[in-house]
Point group: C2
Chain length 360, copies 2
């Protein structure tokens, strides 16, 4: 595509502040020279950074904002006061069509609450979902929902599956991602009624959608690398993601302790340090950065609050790809096809994407 993706960037979010965010944007722009930025935040803190980042400065406009959503703010507070913050203005920029995507490393709850309110859901989707990438033994896996909702109906879960598959097709470059529903067993009768109904719907339609529905998967299958998309309600998805992240951090920490404990083990660490670095890189969240709110009337990408410049650049890279490959259009297309297929109750083949409205 020949477009120039415009990113509305919240420069005040994240632990590293404007310096980290802008360094990340500069790196992203080197990778994707067509990217343009609208930078929201305190002009006095942004300007000196741009002085040093000439390439970025040439592709960016600064919009000064006074307000700031703090990491400790409650979503309700952000909703009342956040409209004029760097975060709120970045989202508004997407809503008003002046940017294709908003990127923020700020407070997740506040970002979600404001994005839901300002952008509403897109055609065919009842509830948005938060999706992210998780490292596994092989390629990354897409997980959703990670907490945009507390409870999810069977319909919601099916929509998450369609959205997650569209996301995986773009960011993982897959044709027909393998999609599973997170459950506490693999047999058809396991889990909640919502899960069983969602599985039945996906089993019926899955063959005709651009995804392979492979059934239920237990929590330990998340990181094994045999799945591309794992779908869950927002509660158990959030719990699973955080349990996995916490455990990875724990094991790496214990490993560090083990190596520091004696002189001999320190020497051992030195000899294996190159390999251990690559292990650390494999589980480093910065290399898998960029959670996305899917299903909204506009695109919002969330970076880890603790991300470094490289992590920010990766999140902006994800934003770039989702804009260029039109994730919203893909989701709308697949949902229209799914609904048409279901209403007719007859097997059908997925129409080519160019056929657009024909399937509705």
């Amino acid at each position: 595509m020949n477009m120039e993706p415009i990113v509305a960037l919240d420069c005040m979010g994240g632990d590293g502040g404007p310096a980290t965010v802008l360094a990340g944007a500069a790196t992203a722009r080197e990778r994707y020279p067509r990217l343009r930025f609208r930078l929201f935040g305190d002009h006095a803190r942004i300007a000196p950074e741009l002085e040093r980042l000439r390439g970025l400065a040439a592709a960016a406009d600064v919009v000064h904002t006074d307000g700031e959503v703090l990491a400790t703010d409650k979503p309700s507070h952000a909703l009342r006061r956040g409209r004029d913050s760097s975060m709120g203005r970045a989202i508004m920029e997407v809503r008003e069509g002046r940017a294709h995507v908003a990127v923020s490393a700020g407070n997740t709850g506040a970002l979600m609450a404001m994005a839901k309110l300002m952008l509403r859901t897109q055609e065919g989707i009842d509830r948005p979902a938060l999706a992210a990438l998780l490292p596994t033994a092989k390629a990354d896996v897409v997980m959703l929902d990670l907490g945009a909702n507390v409870e999810s109906s069977a319909e919601n879960l099916v929509q998450f599956a369609v959205m997650g598959a569209a996301f995986a097709r773009i960011v993982l470059g897959l044709k027909r991602p393998r999609v599973a529903l997170l459950n506490i067993g693999e047999e058809e009768l396991k889990g909640t009624e919502e899960l069983r109904d969602a599985a039945a719907m996906l089993r019926q339609a899955g063959g005709d959608l651009p995804l392979q529905f492979v059934g239920f998967a237990e929590g330990d299958k998340l990181v094994r690398g045999d799945l591309d998309v794992v779908v869950s309600d927002g509660f158990s998805g959030n719990v699973a993601l955080k349990a996995a992240e916490g455990t990875a951090r724990l094991v790496v920490e214990l490993l560090g302790r083990a190596f520091r404990s004696t002189l001999l083990s320190q020497l051992g660490f030195l000899l294996a340090s190159k390999q251990l670095k690559s292990l650390r890189a494999h589980v480093d969240p910065n290399n898998h950065n960029g959670a996305v709110f899917l299903g909204l009337g506009g695109l919002v990408v969330k970076s880890h609050g603790g991300a470094n410049a490289k992590g920010l650049a990766n999140a902006i890279g994800v934003a770039h790809d989702l804009v260029v490959d039109d994730i919203g259009g893909r989701i709308a297309h697949d949902m229209r096809f799914f609904q048409a297929h279901r209403t007719l109750g007859a097997p059908a083949s997925a129409p080519p994407r160019s056929g657009d409205e024909a399937a509705a």
Copy 2:
């Protein structure tokens, strides 16, 4: 206490078969010389093992059973055909008062289904919960429910908290365990209505129960070591546990790969091998073995199916401690106190345990 705890042992469960189970029993008996066993399973396979394990043989009776619950059997199948299996007979032995506790390394779903049906729930408890120990950065943490239920009411969650605390007092040797509810945020308004109601009840009564209720905890806090008991519905608990186990396995596997990749890194591994072994031991499930069905009218301990003899011995050790410290009595006592306290709606102090019925 001067009692001799009697263990009804399912010798046919687990990947290692009777040889592993009996070796584990022999080790447990060396640690706890008062233990006595009733061994259920195929006499022809048990007898030769006992030939070599004289200490155990002197403290055990063998009850021959023909049937066997397979790891692949569905719970419904076990319910129909499992009564005469080694697993079913071991549970029945507890129900009929000929043993204090049943221990099995067999199929979890089948064990749970049969135990629920044969033992029903104990006084004050509406639903049983599956509890287990998880390694953390510091001491182990008790998690429950791990899948005995799919959904849980606020009342169920409160009962799980009381049961988990009783378990932690015995197996972790704590006076007032720190108890948290698993949630997707730490603020009071987060999560489901069931969680918020359970938190309100525990906040009201917690100070008078033998536990400290510390509020909500997110998934990454599970393994940080600052909590003693983490309470959840069976769905999200199961998902969290398996995500944590899967991730620990993944990181250890990646670590192995990293060390094997070059000659230099192999040498590094050799130099640090003692410390790495202790890391492996820290996360080895065999060192944290012994899941327990709490809240039933009799005690059932579940060993990991893949446990080795040491793992089995640990599971039997847990069974021993729960019998000697009368977990069922503690739970009944605490629930009576909780109910009395709630009905009166007034603050009260926990009566001493010897006061038994006085609080009801």
